[in-house]
């Protein structure tokens, strides 16, 4: 004979704001012989009971919090009021949201006045819902600020990052949802007040609360997905995202367990709150450090994601790598000379977005060959002319203010030079005071190129023409 199921769990899919919906659901369960025992964040726990018609009431009690081990004096006084009409608390929790049951078939309701019900719900929303909105806004603004910081230091890299745009869209949507939630609540509040006053009917909140909760979850998940895709690619990004979601559940679960343990141990609410928050903070910090290490090791620029070099060589006790990537412009093409094995050629597609492609290429001599010049360039391919000027500005600003190093040197400036020889529409050369440096910004119709030659180099017009042929085509 199989064991009779004594308890069951139900995934908490209803928002705690849906008073009437929950009350109907619990009454239905009670009639089927399942009595609510505990309301967790993720699951509601039921135990077997005599199948019976019972009335339930979801009550918001503001003068407490979820950290109390036992009901406070005020809550006990409240219980006495409710007990007078036969209402008794169903769950052992002493939090702000509580469920009461009544064995009578037609008991006097806990709330008989709609205006008061609306006010209590409004105050409850300010206490809980508003905090959630503020948290969402803080997360979204934090994401945008992090990107804003990136824009200051590496504007082109960010402009070329589709995932960064994804984060922007999600963050803006989250801000919109947060503000929308506040507006939506106040609209409901005003309407509910009118309904209560003029028609003595309660305007339910369920129409917007549940959808909004899902929207929050979706936007935060999408934002996290884009953030992880910015750092990782493809499959690893999905794994990373799943890890983050699991960690969120772990932190929330640990917090719950900690609070429950504090209650069982009979801690005061203050001590329980402090301890639980501390445990969650330590756990979050540990996870933060762990994530940082994971990024350093498994991220795109991390230890396990390095490119395999063509060959390596030893010089002065260190190992150097040599790559043989195909470069659009080489010193060989400019000078007509052959350098054999004395150079490393690297070409990287840094980022690719719907707006721009960002490449970096360089040809650098081996460490043991000091007399040879080197060549570096950055190519920004612009897909929409709308961002052309912005890219040009970013590249120029980066050179003049040396963003990457954070050392602002005002004496570095770009001066417009004759562009025809380069086959470009515009050309700039970098100057340090009066001294011309071998750094150029060349503007072609669909790309902007930042060229850095060796300081010993003297470019001829013929070599400039070659540059124009390569980048201007």
């Amino acid at each position: 004979m199989g064991k009779i199921q004594e308890t069951k769990r139900y995934l908490a899919s209803m928002s705690l704001w849906e008073q009437e919906c929950i009350e109907e659901f619990l009454a239905d369960q009670a009639e089927q012989g399942w009595m609510l025992e505990k309301m967790g964040s993720f699951y509601w726990h039921f135990r077997k009971a005599e199948p019976k018609k019972r009335k339930f009431s979801v009550v918001y009690f503001l003068k407490t919090d979820d950290f109390h081990a036992t009901p406070t004096e005020e809550m006990k006084e409240f219980y006495e009021f409710l007990a007078h009409d036969g209402w008794y608390p169903v769950t052992s929790e002493a939090g702000k949201i509580q469920v009461f049951c009544n064995e009578h078939t037609e008991p006097r309701p806990v709330e008989t006045e709609v205006t008061t019900k609306v006010e209590v719900l409004h105050r409850m929303w300010k206490c809980v819902g508003l905090k959630m909105c503020i948290l969402c806004l803080a997360v979204a603004i934090g994401q945008l600020l992090a990107l804003g910081w990136g824009v200051t230091y590496m504007p082109i890299t960010l402009l070329a990052d589709n995932m960064a745009w994804g984060v922007v869209v999600c963050s803006l949507a989250l801000i919109g949802a947060g503000i929308g939630a506040v507006i939506s609540h106040y609209r409901w509040y005003k309407k509910a007040q009118v309904e209560a006053r003029e028609r003595n009917t309660f305007l339910p909140t369920r129409l917007w609360m549940r959808e909004l909760s899902w929207l929050y979850i979706m936007l935060v998940t999408a934002g996290l997905a884009f953030q992880s895709l910015r750092v990782f690619r493809a499959v690893r990004a999905v794994v990373f995202l799943l890890v983050i979601l699991v960690l969120v559940v772990v932190v929330a679960g640990t917090f719950e367990v900690c609070v429950a343990h504090g209650k069982r141990a009979g801690m005061t609410a203050k001590k329980n709150r402090k301890r639980s928050v501390l445990v969650a903070a330590i756990l979050l910090t540990a996870i933060g450090i762990l994530m940082f290490l994971v990024l350093a090791v498994f991220g795109d620029g991390g230890y396990f994601n390095k490119r395999e070099p063509e060959m390596t060589y030893e010089y002065d006790g260190s190992t150097f790598e040599i790559y043989k990537d195909e470069l659009p412009l080489t010193l060989e093409r400019l000078t007509g000379e052959a350098y054999d094995e004395q150079y490393s050629y690297e070409m990287r597609l840094e980022q690719k977005s719907f707006l721009i492609n960002h490449y970096i290429g360089w040809q650098s001599p081996c460490e043991d060959v000091h007399e040879l010049p080197d060549l570096r360039y950055e190519i920004v391919e612009i897909k929409y002319s709308l961002v052309y000027e912005l890219c040009e500005k970013f590249i120029k600003d980066e050179l003049e203010h040396d963003y990457g190093k954070g050392l602002e040197d005002e004496s570095e400036r770009l001066i417009m030079v004759e562009a025809t020889a380069w086959g470009a529409q515009k050309a700039y050369q970098l100057y340090h005071g009066d001294e011309a440096k071998m750094t150029f910004v060349l503007c072609y119709s669909e790309r902007i190129v930042k060229l850095e030659f060796d300081y010993r180099w003297n470019l001829t017009n013929a070599q400039k023409t070659i540059v124009g042929e390569v980048f201007g085509k």
Binding site: V59, F81, L82, W87, R108, P109, E113, T116, K117, Q193
Partner: protein, 104 residues
Amino acid sequence: MPRAKLQTLTEQMFYILLCLKEECYGLDILDKIPNMTGHRVNVGSGTLYTLLEQFREEGFIRETKVEGRRRSYIITAKGEEVLAREYERILAQVHDYQLTRGCK
């Protein structure tokens, strides 16, 4: 905005204040009102608890005695004023009704 809300009393608010013309335990109001109104008006226990708290915050009532968790209250001068204003409003309504229907 509870202040603005309490400028006009609802029927249940009116009867709660009316009960507190004499010192009374909060809980006893739950039975007093139905008795007073022939069960026409009923105040739920949650509603009563919230309203007593609001009235106390607004200074319409004051606490007179605490015995364990049982508290008794009585109406204040401010509460009397609000109650009288509500009475005047109801009278005006009755007057208007009678005038319109030619009952006078």
